[in-house]
Symmetry: C2
Subunit: 120 residues, 2 copies
């Protein structure tokens, strides 16, 4: 069976505290699932390619990308698919781009619960 | 008691489907809580100011902003606070900027559940 790694991919920012929020947001998932890592599209480390290189060295051949984005704009429609296509060739791996978290019903539910909690 | 409106504020995009994702993501919350609306910082409609004008006409004096952002970058540290300050003066209302949804433990939990669900 091919070994699959899941990359939680966030946008990235030159602001360090921005990246820390994603480290914290994904901590419980990464602790529970050792096959899951956090990576950034740009500006923050590690990059998607960094994680593919590391993962490949650990024996992973397939990389699933779960975008930590709320909606699909240019980055998810063009930039990330193009990056993944290029890495498939250059690193001889396969990739799969999942729907961004914002499209999942759990996000709608989380927002409703946050509002419920803060309701006066 | 002052009447409070909560604005769920997303970034906005020239891509219409991007805005639709946020309409859908916030639908159950807006249906359950009539005092909650969706607004966009830029590019999409309605804008934050549109919703403040509408809300004020309906008798709301206080506007709480829940950012539909995953982390705090320049927009939440500078742009949105500056916009809110300016609207407080120009529309004679009060505002309150909440933490972005990405800082809430429910987001970390949603990501964990999404991974759990998609685990092979």
């Amino acid at each position: 069976m091919r070994k699959t790694k899941t990359l939680l991919v966030a946008h990235g920012s030159s602001d360090v505290s921005w990246g820390n929020t994603f480290q914290k947001m994904t901590e419980s998932t990464r602790e529970k699932y050792p096959d899951v890592s956090l990576a950034f599209m740009e500006l923050s480390s590690p990059s998607i390619e960094d994680e593919i290189i590391t993962g490949k060295a650990e024996g992973y051949q397939h990389f699933r990308v779960l975008p930590l984005f709320l909606a699909k704009g240019k980055h998810l429609k063009k930039d990330i698919p193009a990056m993944l296509l290029s890495y498939e060739t250059s690193h001889e791996i396969s990739t799969e781009l999942l729907e961004p978290i914002g499209e999942h019903p759990l996000l709608a539910e989380a927002i409703r619960l946050i509002i419920e909690e803060t309701a006066e």
